[in-house]
Symmetry: C2
Subunit: 225 residues, 2 copies
DNA sequence: CGCGGCTTTGATGTTCATCAAGTAAAGTGG
DNA sequence: CCACTTTACTTGATGAACATCAAAGCCGCG
């Protein structure tokens, strides 16, 4: 029996695809696993597959001309992985890298496009999800842009605490340098700010493990800092 | 006879809508004009219309908690106006303001959604356009983020010169403050940098009129500054 | 004409990047 | 398994980039 039938993703992406089509999709899909650090998509690769995440956590990033990386956003299960550009370009404009053990389901893009062209409700579903994803990226980046260093660090900590892990204690899935690449500041200043938060007893740090001790203060820094 | 038949927008948005449907759309559409400075969409408004631009230039912006504005992007004809959020929310998350005399065609969103649900090719067309628009916003903002003050100003000047007006001499459609709101710097520093470019004979300034005198230099500043 | 918003310049101080140097942790080859 | 290399993390000192404050000129509009 096809496991796609019971996949949570079904209700999200394939709500309007009938059983027969779903069996077809299921037969043709490929599941791939990536461990932390592995590259799933490389900037510049041709887009011929349609990827979506079943489990894990990834980062979307783009290389600048001078060898540095910028992180665009993070994605968790039920988000597309190949969402940007899929319907607007034939080459990826960014890379996707696993930052936790990640499982991805893969379909041929041609097939997904064919479904979308024939099944308007499926097409609408896709559109809504793409819209939601990109809206979030745009508004998140705007939010970060208006904040100073401390506010940006607070924002990132709250992002992982509230949005990703839904816990006050968690293991940071990214390095200090990656935080810097995301918020557009230097690694040194990311570290300095984390240390400062530690000294002010707002957080506790044990290497990659973070515990948010004073969430209200952190929220206030995120808002006004 | 219906003017939509010959509208340039037809080939873009409504390539896959038949003549009969188009006549229907044409009868139900409303055309509205906005002069420079007029608000087309207000943040928080319910989304019940589908807008696209026929002529002009607009800015997309969002108010921060402390009364300041951030500019997300600019849109020119053949771009959606109500693109973000349209298929992902029931309220606008940003405002749209005319920065030049602007003409907008308006359809009821319900109708557009109905078409999209029934006509998969139309739905695909919409999706591709939304993807292209949001991709551009995301990548543009990323590009600005990695640059310093001078590079950001150069970026903005080249944006209007190369992408909007396709001329080396043009009238800036926005104030110095709005440039600042777009690139995330202060008005004073925007002015200072423009003056510096003028002193270095990279541009000439006559109030709002800008002439790019040394484009190569400006491109180099945009890239490395 | 006078008021408010936009523009401009200068002086000052804060925030942040850069440079430097050292420790810890993690991966690599003999 | 240990020496070795590399990468991540950390702190301090310095200077550059940028914000803030202040003051004045300009322009359009009621």
């Amino acid at each position: 029996m096809c496991t796609c039938e019971n996949c949570q993703l079904r209700s999200i992406f394939f709500a309007h695809v009938n059983s027969e089509e779903l069996t077809n999709i299921c037969d043709l899909k490929v599941e791939r696993q990536y461990s932390k650090g592995e590259i799933i998509i490389n900037e510049g690769d041709p887009i011929d597959e349609f990827l979506y995440m079943k489990e894990g956590l990834v980062k979307l990033s783009k290389a600048t001309l001078h060898g540095k990386d910028q992180i665009i956003s993070f994605s968790k299960p039920f988000d597309f992985v190949s969402l940007l550009s899929v319907f607007s370009s034939n080459k990826y404009k960014y890379s996707v890298t696993a930052i936790e053990e990640t499982t991805v389901c893969i379909l041929q893009l041609d097939m997904v496009k064919k479904y979308a062209q024939e099944n308007a409700m499926f097409s609408m579903d896709l559109m809504m999800h793409i819209s939601q994803m990109t809206d979030k990226i745009i508004l998140d980046n705007l939010d970060i842009k208006r904040k100073h260093l401390k506010g940006r660090i607070a924002h990132v900590l709250l992002y992982f605490s509230d949005y990703i892990y839904k816990k006050d204690e968690f293991e940071l899935p990214i390095s200090r340098r990656e935080i810097a690449e995301y918020i557009g500041m230097t690694t040194e200043n990311v570290i300095r700010t984390l240390s400062e938060f530690r000294k002010d007893k707002i957080i506790k740090i044990f290497g990659k493990d973070i515990l948010i001790a004073d969430k209200k203060r952190l929220q206030s820094i995120s808002e006004f800092g």
